[in-house]
Each structure stands twice: as C-alpha cells, then as structure tokens.
Symmetry: C2
DNA sequence: AATAAAATTGTAATCATTACAAAATAGTAT
DNA sequence: ATACTATTTTGTAATGATTACAATTTTATT
C-alpha cells in the first residue's frame, strides 16, 4: 500500500481520527519518511517545527493511531517499538550493523501453518535480522 | 526441537554456560514448561524453591542465555518480552482472549522473499495474533 | 586452607511509558 | 460575536521494567 499521495486529513477522518495539527504532522512524518521511527525519533524530528510539542502527545497520538488501526507497531528489538503507517501485511528486516529497518514484500498465502486449524488469525507479523545488502557489500570491499 | 529429555547440565556446558544452580533451574523451567514466560513469571515460579533468588539473577541469566543463543526472545506485545528455549525457527500465536502463546510449526523455506537478495538473514521470526482454538470454540457455545 | 575468579544478590539509578490535572484549542449553541 | 462545552494538548509526577554497581557468597585453583 502506497500512502505517499493520499490526502492525510481525509485519510484520518475516514478512519475516525479528528485531524488536529499534531496528528496531521505525526502521521505525515510516518508516511513521508517510511523510516519506521520510534516515539523519540518522531518527537525529535517534529519538535523544531512544532516547538510546543509534548512527548506525551506523541505517545497519545500513536496509541490512538494503533487503536484505529492506521499504524502498526514493529517489534524487532527488545528495547524499542517502532511504528509503520503501512498496515498491510509485509515483513521487516533490521540490519545489525546500520540498524536500519527495511520493508520486505511478503506473500504468506501459501505458507503451511499446520496446527492453526480453528484458530482465528487477525494479525500476522514477520521480521528478519541480519546484515543488509549495503553493509554486506561494504564489508566485502 | 524437543529439549524435554536432554541433560540440561551438559547442554549448558556444551553451549559455554557454566551450570550454576540458578542457571540450571531457570533453563529447566523453560524446558519443562514451554509456556513462554516473561522474567517476572520465571522469578515468581522459582523463588519459593530458591528463596534467595534475585530478580537481577533472572535478568542476568536470560541475558547470558540470549548471548549464547540457547534462548530466543518472543516479542508479540509492546510491553512484554517472553522467552523460549526452543531456538529453532518456528512461529508463535498469542490469543487475545486467554493471552496464551502457542508454538506454531513453520516451514519458511518456500517463502517468497523478493527484495532480500544479497541480504544475510541470521534470524527469522514470525508471530500471529488472534483467537485460539479453545477460546474460539468456547465462544461459539 | 588460602587465594583468586566468577556468580549472585540487594539497592539504587535509569529510562520509557503512563496517569493525571491544568491549559489551550476547537466546536456548538445562543 | 459571545458564552459554553467538549476535545486535545501539555507538563509534571508516578509507575514499572530493566540496568548499573558494589558487596557478599559461592566456586574453582593453587
């Protein structure tokens, strides 16, 4: 799902979120940057443009976005929660060297999931850890 | 991988972990119960048998086990880290009703992972959220 | 038994997150 | 436009999980 050209204000309204200035800017940051930031990164990146911004607002807003299903949390490392405005099923890859998180297109449809009969799957998450292409090539020099 | 009949002391030694009493008991708990506990659960379950046990020791020990690769962290919810002594690739399913975490056998070998050429994958993690069979059937009554 | 090394423990410090109440903003009715 | 109400934002304090650290205990070695 490509959100880069949506009308963010309308998208928030459609998902039952009143588009306040802070909410618009936080969601816009997620859509524009696709860098899977954590709360602190979002705060640091926006506070210069919104000097009154409070970190509590970032927490509140992300919690709201999660409840409305317009962001998903990315859990890869034990000590950080990152956020992604793309809520379609796709995987993530975190590089242990540069720490970057990449989106990975995934097709889980033909995955064998024996033992899940009668289970209702509402969310699927998959992630990988290792060394990314760029760091791999850089290391090989 | 079934660890239920291994010699835990030998298994720890083989993985470069000196088998102290606390380490034995903590690893034994993980192997015997397979309930994917968090730090606090492990501590609460063992403190009656080891009255001097400190929660710091549980943290230290799990950190050591992680470094040696004999446990893996399970990240499903934002606010809890659970641990699994089965470090082979398999999935997990957390029920949103009973909160239980199930092991799911998985075969990722035929998964399409376009966009990962030249990436070195060292770990693969997959998890699902939803309603488990037991709660699903109970609800349907 | 004496010494050194390693592991455990308890307390204090840290850090991320949440609770909460006051202030600011937006929306509605008069 | 004004008064009133509801919502959102903000800052501070509280919470809770994890880590740092030094003292104690245990284990291993001489």
């Amino acid at each position: 799902m490509d959100l880069s050209n949506i009308n963010i204000e309308q998208y928030l309204r459609n998902n039952d979120v009143k588009p306040s200035y802070q909410r618009l800017k936080i969601f816009e940051y997620l859509v524009k940057h696709k860098n899977h930031p954590n709360v602190d990164t979002i705060y640091q990146e926006l506070v210069s443009a919104i000097p009154t911004l409070s970190k509590t607002t970032v927490y509140n807003t992300l919690k709201l976005f999660l409840e409305k299903g317009i962001v998903q949390p990315i859990l890869i490392e034990e000590n950080e929660i990152r956020y992604d405005a793309d809520v379609t099923v796709h995987g993530h890859f975190k590089c242990e060297i540069c720490q970057e998180v990449y989106d990975i297109p995934l097709d889980l449809s033909d995955m064998k999931t024996e033992g899940l009969e009668k289970f209702i799957i509402k969310e699927s998450h998959i992630y990988f850890k290792g060394i990314c292409k760029r760091c791999n090539i850089a290391n090989a020099q």
